[in-house]
């Protein structure tokens, strides 16, 4: 029995590691039960039994290997998507910072400066929440982005309104409001485009 069990356990190496860890001992137990049943029978039954076990491994191990490969590929694809998103996000922030600097030097209209300011601030705060959250939890990327952007832009608008009114007597609420709407739409469009390109784990 011990040798047969060892041979069967060697055959189990054909299955992926996760499958072996989950079901390996159950499969060995089942093998032992079946082996016990055929021990009292003759040689022909024993040959038929081994033939059945070998064919079973040949039929099912490639399928399990394929499924494990598919799972790994999906995870890799998602990680790749997150990485591309992060790089694109950093590129947008750098470009916005540069535009912001250019606007200051050349005294571009206030509304555009407000919008760039909002995009940078809301972008940094929101994306620092969105990316780790989506990577760690595998929540829906677009929904997470929608609610985070709504909350962050809303909170920043509220803070700007509360502080701006006290600090600056010529505070322009409608310009700041428009700036955060532009920022919200900008980042939401970015995350929507990402979610269209990136497959979701079911």
């Amino acid at each position: 029995m011990s040798l047969s069990k060892r041979i069967f356990q060697l055959m189990l190496l054909a299955y992926p590691r996760e499958f072996r860890l989950e079901y390996g001992s159950d499969m060995t137990q089942l093998f032992r039960d079946c082996y016990r049943d055929i021990q009292r029978t003759g040689l022909i039954c024993a040959i038929a039994f081994w033939r059945r076990m070998i064919l079973d491994v040949i039929r099912t191990a490639p399928l399990e290997r394929w499924e494990a490969l598919e799972r790994r590929y999906k995870t890799m694809k998602n990680l790749k998507g997150d990485l591309i998103g992060l790089v694109a996000c950093a590129a947008i922030l750098v470009a916005t910072f540069l535009l912001f600097g250019y606007g200051r030097r050349h005294e571009i209209g206030t509304i555009w400066m407000f919008a760039l300011d909002a995009i940078v601030t809301a972008g940094v705060v929101s994306n620092l929440i969105i990316f780790p959250l989506v990577m760690a939890t595998r929540l829906s990327a677009f929904r997470t982005a929608l609610w985070t952007l709504l909350l962050v832009n809303g909170a920043l608008l509220l803070i700007a309104t509360l502080i701006g009114n006290r600090a600056d007597p010529e505070f322009n609420f409608s310009a700041v409001f428009a700036a955060y709407v532009v920022s919200f739409v900008f980042w939401l469009t970015f995350h929507w485009l990402r979610s269209q390109m990136r497959p979701q784990l079911s």
Binding site: F19, Y23, Q29, L30, L55, D56, V57, R59, T60, E64
Partner: protein, 120 residues
């Protein structure tokens, strides 16, 4: 968040091994060896599930919520604690019924075509 169950009809036709496993579990909770014996018995020994076929199918059935692992033991005194028992869920029952109805419709067609004698 609870995963929404698909329409049972969409999972049909079931593979032969999945159908026989669900059928075996429709009488009550069983462990792997019990399922294998039950399947061999109700197919007259025609189908003998190997360990890979059985546990591959069990993995997929657990994944789509047709069966669950259960801690309850039918007869604790006779039982080996290491064995894992499986139970058919309500969703699994629905899928099994849908498959039985599908097969029954096929049998009716075969009877109309006189490939099978009609039952009296």
């Amino acid at each position: 968040m609870a995963k929404e169950k698909p329409n049972p009809e969409k999972l049909l036709p079931l593979t032969s091994s999945v159908f026989h496993i669900l059928l075996a579990l429709s009488d009550g909770d069983l462990h792997g060896y019990g399922i294998m014996q039950e399947v061999a018995e109700h197919t007259g020994g025609q189908i003998k599930l190997g360990p890979g076929t059985l546990y591959g199918a069990i993995k997929r059935l657990l994944g789509n919520g047709m069966i669950v692992e259960t801690d309850e033991r039918p007869d604790p005194e006779m039982d080996d604690e290491r064995r894992r028992y499986y139970r058919l869920t309500d969703f699994g029952q629905q899928v099994l019924k849908a498959e039985v109805q599908r097969i029954s419709r096929l049998v009716s067609v075969a009877q109309r075509k006189r490939l099978l004698p009609k039952r009296t």
